[in-house]
């Protein structure tokens, strides 16, 4: 068990290093922050001074080592726009993002999992087909289209809800709905297929053959097995809590981490972008670790494999 996790933690750390490296290289190859922030009309000596001040004219490998040295000391750099520590800028946006993604996560699970289970148990019924159609729609319609559709109906046509901003809880309803519907659809499809797979297994027939009532077959024999693949997709969803709302925040003018990321990328505000990506990589990796741990908890076969490995 200990080794099972040691290997996974090592892999997680490697993943974070790779993500940060990739972001570092791509950002530096894709545009000059000095030009982006100061504008093309800025005099050359001002641009040169800016580059020198931020170390942008050093060789890239030097900048890279410098960057990792700073991270090791816990420094994530400063925003090139206003000079504030990048981490501060990011942290102050996190509550706004969580205000959308946490309720959305709750609704995804509360809607998606029961819908998937119900559809699997009533395979081929009208409700199954309705759930699956909704799920495919939710799966294929991009979130910005869904967001605009919701705005069109509930803000423009009906006038019930505001179309953007962050002034009251009512402003959060449409963004949360947009995030929830898509996620619930994915989860419903996933849960349904996991459930169908499990219901076709011989041990389900064994349970019925020994006289276990159907309801109990579902709750104590099928669900614990179907939970194993479903946890994978749930883990992925936890991983997107911090930065999974980039599109939705942009559409609804919600001042969260996602919008900060869009603005920072556009401005090549390197430290801020890197700080966000580091945070995203860390949440992703952490949620994957939690999923691995849950696997061990849910599936005794993995537990003993880990112990013997």
């Amino acid at each position: 068990m200990g080794r099972y996790f040691a290997i996974r933690i090592g892999r997680a750390a490697l993943t974070i290093v790779l993500v940060v490296t990739f972001a570092f290289v791509v950002l530096r190859l894709s545009g000059d922050p000095a030009l982006m922030i100061l504008g093309p009309e800025a005099p050359p000596e001002v641009l040169a001074a800016f580059r020198k001040a931020w170390g942008l004219d050093d060789p890239i490998w030097f900048q890279y080592l410098d960057y990792f040295g700073a991270i090791a000391k816990g420094e994530l750099g400063r925003s090139m726009r206003d000079g504030r520590p990048a981490i501060e800028l990011v942290l102050e946006r996190i509550p706004a993002t969580l205000a959308l993604t946490l309720p959305a996560f709750f609704f995804k699970v509360a809607l998606g999992v029961p819908a998937g289970i119900y559809a699997a148990l009533h395979r081929g019924s009208a409700i199954d087909r309705a759930v699956m159609m909704t799920a495919v729609a939710g799966f294929t319609v991009p979130s910005f289209v869904l967001a605009l559709l919701l705005v069109l109906v509930f803000a423009v046509q009906l006038g019930w809800l505001p179309s953007g901003g962050q002034d009251s809880w009512r402003h959060a309803i449409l963004p949360i709905a947009t995030l929830s519907l898509g996620g619930a659809a994915v989860l419903a499809r996933f849960t349904r297929s996991a459930m169908l797979e499990v219901l076709g297994q011989p041990y389900i027939r064994t349970a019925s053959a020994k006289g276990v009532p159907w309801r109990r077959v579902v709750t104590s024999h099928a669900l614990p097995n179907a939970a194993i693949p479903t946890v994978t997709i749930l883990g992925f969803m936890v991983g997107t809590l911090i930065a999974g709302a980039v599109v939705v925040e942009s559409v609804f003018a919600w001042p969260g981490v996602g919008r900060l990321l869009v603005v920072a990328v556009a401005n090549r505000d390197l430290a801020v972008v890197q700080c966000i990506l580091l945070l995203v990589a860390m949440t992703m990796v952490t949620s994957n670790l939690i999923v691995d741990f849950l696997y061990g908890f849910l599936d005794p076969r993995l537990r003993s494999k880990g112990a013997h490995a």
Partner: protein
């Protein structure tokens, strides 16, 4: 002996395609019946259908009586009492027949709690006794293990223990040894016949292995394409099969003594259930088939006190076997 189960006209169709086409079968208390036939002949479907264990899209019709009481189409609650409590079933692939995420104790005690009036510690004690009975050593500790921690043969033993948990009158063993090594096969069959003798339980042994059936069963029913084509006491069937298909099956067995001879295969293949030949389903492969065979499917008719066969050429077939010129 009184009849335990009587099946009459049992038919099963999957999405309109008939796979079981009117099976009549009776079983006496304590009797061991072998059910043989090729894959797809309907051996397992007969019992899965009788116990309501087929998927919902299967259409099941006919009659299945347990001590005179109709169980086909009975309420879910009544079926749950029959399954495991009166009629238990074990399956072919032990590796996937137990729930991988539940301990043996949970799965065994679940069956005990459902069918026996036991409480608390008595349940666990009984679970230990059952594991002892089927020959799992160190039962107390092994109860806490998961299915993947046992070998295939051990899991089949646990399946048998679980089937015995409800004190059933009948055990359906659906190819119980097919997935196991030859040495383990013999042990499991030995175990089955021991517990059957000790508990006075009836057994249906579903198998395509004629040797297994001959050794373990009082009576044999041969199935072909969703029907029973011949029924006889084991020794008589093997000594003197009447239906040409039964003859073919037995002719395909290698002899233990005497000179080596070429094994005779039955020509052709099992008909596709969606395109059954009219008349006798075996006629297209039968060397004795005559014109009337294609007209109507023969019904199972008695040819002796305890034997019946579904073949209009039964007499000719018998003479052919005895080496007498046909007609």
């Amino acid at each position: 002996m009184p009849q335990l189960v009587s099946i009459a006209g049992l038919s099963v169709a999957f999405s309109g395609v008939p796979v079981l086409r009117g099976v009549d079968l009776t079983l006496e208390k304590g009797e061991a019946l072998g059910l043989v036939g090729e894959s797809g002949s309907g051996k397992s479907v007969t019992w899965l259908g009788a116990l309501g264990l087929l998927p919902r899209h299967a259409q099941v019709s006919g009659s299945v009586r347990l001590e005179g009481r109709e169980i086909l189409g009975a309420s879910a609650a009544e079926l749950d009492r029959v399954r495991g409590g009166r009629i238990a079933m074990i399956f072919q692939d032990p590796a996937s027949a137990l729930n991988p995420v539940l301990t043996i104790r949970k799965q065994l005690c679940e069956a005990l709690a459902l069918h026996r009036d036991l409480q608390g510690n008595a349940v666990k004690a009984e679970a230990r006794r059952l594991l002892d009975l089927v020959g799992i050593p160190d039962a107390a500790r092994r109860l806490e293990a998961y299915p993947h921690e046992f070998s295939g043969g051990q899991v089949q033993r646990i399946m048998i223990a679980m089937a015995l948990a409800g004190n059933p009158d009948l055990l359906i063993a659906d190819e119980p040894t097919t997935a196991l090594d030859a040495t383990i096969q013999a042990q499991i069959l030995e175990l089955l016949s021991t517990v059957r003798r000790e508990l006075g339980m009836a057994m249906v042994l579903i198998s395509h292995d004629l040797g297994v059936v001959a050794e373990n069963c009082d009576r044999v029913a041969v199935m072909y394409a969703g029907r029973i084509v011949e029924q006889a006491p084991s020794n008589q069937l093997f000594a003197d099969p009447v239906h040409p298909y039964a003859q073919g099956l037995i002719g395909a067995l290698p002899p233990l003594d005497g000179p080596r001879r070429r094994l005779v295969a039955i020509p052709g293949t099992v008909p596709d259930p969606a395109h059954m030949p009219s008349g006798c389903a075996f006629a297209p492969r039968c060397t004795l088939a005559a014109e009337p065979c294609g007209l109507a499917a023969p019904s199972l008719a008695p040819i002796a006190a305890d034997r019946s066969v579904a073949c209009i050429r039964a007499e000719a077939s018998r003479r052919a076997l005895l080496g007498v010129a046909a007609e």
